[in-house]
């Protein structure tokens, strides 16, 4: 499936990089921002984002809607997301298969869901609610997993495919999350990707992770978004785009923000992988 994002590498737009990222000569094909960072009443961030979207398409990525909460997303927060989407008119809107708010308390983390029939029904309903309120399709992202629930009835891929089928949402495939989850749970990342409904993918995420060890001395990967994409994830990405052709691909980097040039180089690597995977039109930049 396609969104209004071009099939090129995009970069997350952080306050640290506003000036360089929007330098007149060369801007990336598109930018992604976290919706919650633009939910203040005003301020220079809003002006920078206006400037960014005057030049290239935007992706608005929510990190706090808590679609997986049993009680559903907070109506006030959905209203805030709606305002951000109305103001900045992004080419794509995405959220996570996760929950992050409970009883009015925000955890600031993407908490895991059991993959059973009750959750499936609720999440599909909540996605439906969000899409109706926003008046558009959203993309739902696969999470990073550190554990499983004993009550799981579905593999994650089937679960996501079924939510997409029931609600009509697209999927955001985070290849780093696939690698993190597969390593942590002892699964095969390749098998996950081979089973993934790639025709539903509207965007791909790439990011870096930290490597720790669990109590048994096995690797425990933490989805930190604070470093370069690792070789294993690049391989999985190549494997994926060979099948999908070029897909809008984001370099995500949310902590220990590097020099702008580091992000640009990561985006160039993603573009090179896509060049080898298929043809696409050159992206247009205005302004």
């Amino acid at each position: 499936m396609t969104t209004g994002l071009p099939p090129n590498a995009g970069v997350c737009l952080k306050a640290e990089h506003y000036e360089q990222a929007l330098a007149p000569e060369r801007v990336p094909a598109w930018f992604e921002v976290h919706a919650e960072n633009y939910m203040g009443d005003g301020g220079p961030a809003h002006l920078w984002l206006d400037r960014a979207r005057a030049r290239v398409p935007l992706s608005i990525h929510g990190v706090g809607l808590s679609i997986g909460s049993a009680a559903g997303p907070d109506p006030d927060h959905l209203e805030r997301l709606c305002r951000v989407v109305r103001r900045f008119e992004p080419a794509a809107v995405s959220e996570h298969l996760a929950w992050s708010t409970h009883e009015g308390l925000f955890f600031n983390d993407l908490l895991p869901l059991p993959y059973d029939d009750e959750t499936l029904g609720r999440v599909a309903d909540h996605v439906d609610l969000v899409q109706n309120r926003l008046g558009r399709q959203i993309l739902l992202e696969n999470p990073s997993s550190y554990l499983r629930f004993d009550r799981d009835e579905y593999p994650e891929v089937e679960f996501l495919a079924e939510i997409s089928r029931r609600s009509g949402c697209g999927l955001l495939l985070d290849v780093n999350n696939v690698h993190v989850s597969a390593t942590n749970l002892g699964d095969s990342a390749e098998a996950y990707l081979d089973a993934f409904p790639l025709d539903r993918v509207g965007e791909i995420h790439l990011a870096g992770h930290a490597v720790e060890t669990d109590t048994d001395g096995r690797p425990l990967l933490i989805d930190t978004h604070d470093r370069e994409v690792c070789d294993a994830v690049w391989k999985l990405y190549e494997h994926t785009v060979l099948r999908t052709g070029p897909v809008p691909t984001l370099i995500e980097w949310d902590a220990r923000i590097p020099e702008w040039s580091v992000l640009v180089r990561q985006a160039e690597l993603a573009d090179r992988c896509m060049d080898e995977a298929g043809t696409r039109p050159p992206h247009a930049v205005t302004g």
Binding site: H102, F107, N108, D109, P114, R122, L220
Partner: protein, 269 residues
């Protein structure tokens, strides 16, 4: 089997508990215990929010160092978890927590530095509003001036401290660190963002009393009396010029909303 709501009750409570005690019904990898893996969520919750506080309070962080700051920030997250997914203004009461910390005794001004940093973040994210110009007042007949109420700019915050907190803040900015600060000097501050830049001004006692009074909803005449009580002989027209020059005024309250109840809450000092 518990419902999803019940499962989330248990999971959320376990994330908030300080001791490593994972909820039931989860598995790590194979037969391995889930404790270490569950700990990732507890750590993400604490460390992620502590990181958000670090973005808001870089000067406090610089003054006390990484280790002390992380401990205080995590303490704050445990006591005052955010009630909204919008974290831009998270940490409003961090200064109060710093005031209470016995180990912060070496830096008695730390709480006020935190309040100044939060005020600047508040101003940064306030509604964008063009400041009014002083000629706005020229249309008002002189006898009506004392009863006129000003609408302050939405970014305005005030802060009175026993310590020179702005001097400390400036000293911690890039290129700072050379000034010798007289720590016995109190400061009264005005934070405002008339355009894209947040500005902090030092005020004298009269100006501070004047603007605090206006912020509480007092009309110009009443605010002037407060200011004169603080600083007899104050030049009121100079005060008005200052207020408008700083971009502190957004407009004049229309007559219909002039009756502001006496318990109207102003910006806390």
């Amino acid at each position: 089997m518990p419902s999803l709501a019940e499962l989330q009750d248990g999971f959320a409570a376990a994330v908030r508990r300080p001791e490593p005690d994972p909820p039931r019904g989860i598995t790590g990898r194979g037969d391995a215990g889930a404790g270490r893996r569950f700990g990732v969520y507890r750590n993400n919750h604490l460390a992620g929010l502590a990181g958000a506080l670090e973005m808001t309070f870089p000067v406090v962080r610089k003054l006390v160092g990484e280790e002390f700051f992380r401990a205080a920030a995590m303490d704050y997250v445990r006591r005052h978890p955010p009630r909204s997914p919008v974290l831009l203004l998270y940490g409003e009461r961090f200064g109060d927590l710093l005031d209470e910390l016995p180990a912060a005794g070496r830096y008695p001004y730390l709480g006020d530095v935190a309040r100044l940093e939060w005020s600047r973040i508040f101003a940064l994210n306030a509604r964008d509003t063009a400041p009014a110009e002083i000629r706005l007042l020229s249309g008002i007949p002189e006898p009506e001036l004392p009863g006129t109420r000003l609408i302050l700019h939405p970014s305005v915050r005030t802060l009175a401290s026993r310590w020179p907190v702005l001097a400390v803040w400036q000293d911690c900015q890039p290129g700072g660190g050379r000034a010798k600060i007289d720590m016995e000097r109190p400061e009264r501050l005005l934070v405002v963002r008339p355009d894209t830049e947040v500005v902090t001004h030092r005020l004298d006692g009269g100006s501070y009393a004047f603007i605090r009074s206006l912020a509480r909803g007092a009309a110009l005449g009443e605010a002037a009396e407060h200011a004169m009580a603080e600083e007899p002989g104050l030049d009121l027209s100079a005060q008005l010029v200052l207020l408008f020059n700083y971009g502190t005024v957004a407009g004049i309250a229309p007559a219909a909303v002039n009756k502001i109840p006496p318990d109207q809450k102003g910006t806390p000092s």
